[in-house]
Amino acid sequence: MVEPIQFTLNGKPVRLEVDGERMLLWVLRTELGLTGAKYGCGEGFCGACTVIVDGEPVRSCQAPIKTVRGKGILTIEGLERDGKLHPIQEAFIKHEAMQCGFCTSGMILTAYALLAKNPRPTEKDIRDGLEDNLCRCGTHTRVIQAVLTAAAEMKRAVQR
């Protein structure tokens, strides 16, 4: 059923007339023109489609758009502020924590939610938190290093 749905997307209000059963992933990737969230499996297994909804990592391929009504969505495109990359993005670049890059948005956003809840994660916390994000290229070692670096950076930024 086509219905009006409102939410904030990367800090900006959005209002759509859309079938509420459609999955957020497709609406983001087409109507909203944000292709940073990727289709990897369509069934919640890979994490490539991860976005943040009210602070929680959500697999957008499994989230009917009506479930985000009134909520705040953050996608990879919204992580950069005023031309400045988020420390997690900086850390991924520094550690070259990507190869083909197809899992990268999902990795970064999952890490973002993880660090919001647990600003000083151990390596084990990071492995556990990212366990269900798949990467075929085998960037795992670098992703762990990047998240550790980002955590340290963010802590320093808070202290400053």
Partner: protein
């Protein structure tokens, strides 16, 4: 790292300028990286020209095809290679910058655009650096010579007195007399050519190659700005969802598309076996396709993942000896012990996280196509023939590829998109679902290796009779000093070459084609022989090797790992293997723990000593080695395609398990240099040794020798010594 058991390496530095400086630099890198530069060995490198020739006749000879000096002094590098994560876009500009004498930061790159880039056969088989590299370097070197000649005329200074630095030519006697490339070229094409092709720089003179360079695609990928084929949008486009048969070999009888067509805006197209639902929203097209009722005749296939090996053995192509020496019958007489083994390897999926995608936009009798492919020039032909237009009228633009691993060498999705675009007259995008991706994948072929080998009382291998079915020739030839040996190959590297229909679905190249199977089988057998001889696996290899380059990489690997000699199974869970892959020499050591109750394996650490001549981008090489080891854990322990009667049972990542964070061992890469050998690739070698070294480590841990991959907990439990 300690252990002086296998001293070598560090002491033998020859190239104190480049190598030492580079090494100091590399110390600052993570990942346990160590670079060992060593004395040149006796032996000759392949001629660069010979390599260039292998790059294919169609690669253009004119250097202008590869580079262009802009009016602003920036240099654009053109390559038909693509970036699928392996670092091509980072490493290729380094090679160009080296020979042209410009700063790498002034080099821009155009990849995989068929209108702009020189013809290329495809980004496969670690060819970027190994085969395209010399072509690109030769082009840059010639351009440099021509530019110097032009400068000589302009400055009125003889060529001998001129030097080049950072894109400018200057007079050695009066450095202030200089002219930049940009001033010489003035944005025009360079019309002259060098009288003779200049030689490429020797590794000792490298200023750019061999130094770590940051990934060029990192920022785009970390910000979500990197575009892949499925991300491209053009006005008026339709998304197609294509009907998937229930099984390979099932014939479509009838379809009833009425409920799909009842969805507003949906159009259903049938063209022979191609049935698609199209809509301006991808998910609506997908949902509509699911409503198509189709009846199929059942697949005639009676094969499954259990009976497949008998079937393959019956249907293999006749044998072809690719290497032999001595006399096997003589060898058999010398043997005190003979060991015969059969190794099996399963079908494995590529499982790139990006599924195949393509967008074809026809316009005014021409077409533009964005395709996730490892072979854009092939895609150009494929799209042209599907559209029925000349291939010169098709422009393929290659966005980033979300992982290929050999699985994106054909372009069936581009052909489908082209056909649908032709029928509808609109731009059409096809992006496979994950289930389509598994079903239509060209799997790494299941394969069989038979080895009969004999051991003399002194621990020397005296004969080696090797036969490989369906994995092909690559890495099949043993490199030990065995007097009597034969290697027979039945079928090609991509799983073909047997009776038609030997495989119940498509097979093809998978990262390190053929070699994964061949190296697993050979190095397992070597370990079996070592155990039989009661000799430490590393010592046993050294005893039976004469190739100095291989011995060195074995010693360095063992040393850096801290290998302690012991007869296997020692219960410690350490394994070793060595291999050669398309010119790269490598060894690997691993430590695992096996839970004897469950059969589960935990890999604790892995080390790779990797000699690819000179490593053009050490950063990128380490990343590739880590990636190879991590990806290889899957094929070692879990990945196997289940199927029955043409049906593929694994259609998503719930049942088809690929490596995850919890599987991850500590990984170390040791880059070894052999500047006198041709530069070879880094994107594949380390995966080809992974299964071998882990199989040997599992044996050392618990005495379970696995003759079939993957080494699932059940299979390990079955052969655990009671």
């Amino acid at each position: 790292m300690s252990g002086d058991n296998y001293p070598d390496g560090d002491r033998n530095e020859v190239n104190p300028t480049g190598a030492l400086r580079r090494r100091d630099f590399l110390k600052t890198l993570g990942g346990g990286l160590i670079v060992v530069a060593t004395l040149p060995l006796a032996g000759e490198g392949l001629l660069q020209e010979q390599q260039a020739r292998r790059g294919g006749q169609s690669a253009p000879a004119d250097f202008n095809a590869y580079l262009r000096v802009g009016e602003d002094g920036r240099v654009t590098c053109y390559t038909g290679k693509i970036e699928q994560g392996q670092g091509a876009m980072t490493v290729l500009p380094l090679m160009l910058a080296e020979e042209l004498e410009v700063a790498p930061s002034t080099v821009d790159l155009v990849l995989g655009d068929t209108d702009l880039c020189p013809y290329d056969g495809g980004t496969v088989g670690s060819q970027c650096v190994r085969i395209f590299g010399p072509l690109l370097r030769a082009a840059a070197a010639e351009a440099r010579v021509v530019l110097v000649e032009m400068a000589s005329e302009k400055l009125n200074v003889p060529v001998e007195r001129l030097r080049v630095k950072d894109g400018a030519v200057y007079d050695l006697a009066k450095p202030e007399t200089k002219v930049t490339y940009a001033q010489l070229v003035q944005g025009k094409r360079i019309e002259r050519h060098a009288a003779a092709k200049p030689p490429l720089k020797a590794p000792a003179d490298f200023k750019v190659m061999g130094w770590p360079a940051p990934r060029r695609d990192a920022r785009e990928k970390a910000t979500g700005r990197a575009k892949y084929a499925g991300d491209i949008r053009v006005p008026g486009m339709l998304y197609a969802s294509i009907l998937r048969p229930p099984a390979h070999g099932a014939k479509l009888k009838t379809i009833d598309a009425s409920s799909a067509e009842a969805v507003a805006g949906v159009r259903v197209v049938r063209d022979g076996d191609l049935v698609a639902a199209l809509h301006e929203q991808p998910d609506v097209a997908l949902a509509a396709a699911a409503k198509i009722k189709a009846a199929y005749d059942p697949s005639p296939s009676v094969l499954d993942d259990k009976n497949i090996f008998d079937h393959l053995i019956k249907n293999a192509a006749p044998g072809r000896a690719v290497a032999q020496g001595g006399d096997l019958a003589e060898g058999a007489k010398l043997a005190a012990t003979t060991i015969e083994s059969t190794f099996l390897n399963s079908y494995v999926a590529h499982a790139s996280i990006e599924t195949h995608a393509a967008l074809v936009e026809p316009k005014d009798g021409k077409a533009t196509a964005w395709v996730s492919t490892q072979a854009p020039f092939r895609a150009k032909e494929d799209v042209a023939s599907a559209l029925g237009i000349p291939s010169k009228d098709v422009h393929v633009i290659e966005p980033y590829v979300g992982g290929g691993f050999g699985g994106k060498s054909g372009n069936p999705q581009a052909v489908q998109a082209a056909k649908l675009a032709k029928i509808t007259g609109k731009p059409v995008q096809v992006m496979r679902t994950r289930a389509d991706e598994f079903f239509l994948d060209t799997f790494r072929p299941a394969a069989v290796v038979n080895i009969k080998s004999g051991l003399a009382a002194d621990g020397k291998i005296v004969f080696w009779d090797y036969e490989v079915l369906f994995a092909g020739e690559r890495s099949s030839q043993q490199f030990y000093a065995i007097p009597h040996h034969r290697t027979v190959v039945r079928g090609d590297t991509f799983g073909g070459g047997g009776t038609t229909g030997a495989h119940p679905f498509g097979t093809g190249a998978w990262r390190g084609p053929g070699s994964n199977t061949n190296i697993y089988a050979r190095e397992s057998q070597i370990d079996i022989l070592a155990a039989k001889a009661g000799i430490d696996p590393v010592e046993f290899r050294l005893l039976n090797l004469s190739d100095e380059r291989m011995k060195r990489v074995v010693r360095i690997g063992a040393d850096k790992f801290g290998w302690k000699p012991a007869k296997a199974p020692s219960g410690r869970g350490t394994g070793f293997a060595c291999a050669e892959y398309l010119g790269t020499y490598l060894s690997a050591a691993a430590e695992v723990a096996v839970d004897k109750a469950t059969g589960k394996v935990k890999v604790i650490r892995m080390l790779c000593a990797h000699d690819s001549g000179v490593t053009v981008n050490p950063d990128g090489a380490v990343l590739q080695i880590e990636g190879c080891f991590t990806m290889g854990l899957g094929a070692a322990f879990a990945e196997e395609v289940h199927f029955k009667n043409g049906e593929v049972k694994d259609l998503n990542f719930d049942t088809y398990q690929i490596p995850r964070f919890s599987w991850l061992p500590k990984i170390e890469a040791v880059l070894v240099e052999s500047p006198q050998f041709p530069i070879s690739g880094v994107g594949e070698p380390a995966i080809t040794i992974t299964q071998a070294v882990l199989a040997n480590a599992v044996f050392d841990a618990c005495g379970a020798r696995l003759f079939r991959l993957p080494m699932t907990p059940e299979r390990i439990r079955e052969v655990l010594p009671k």
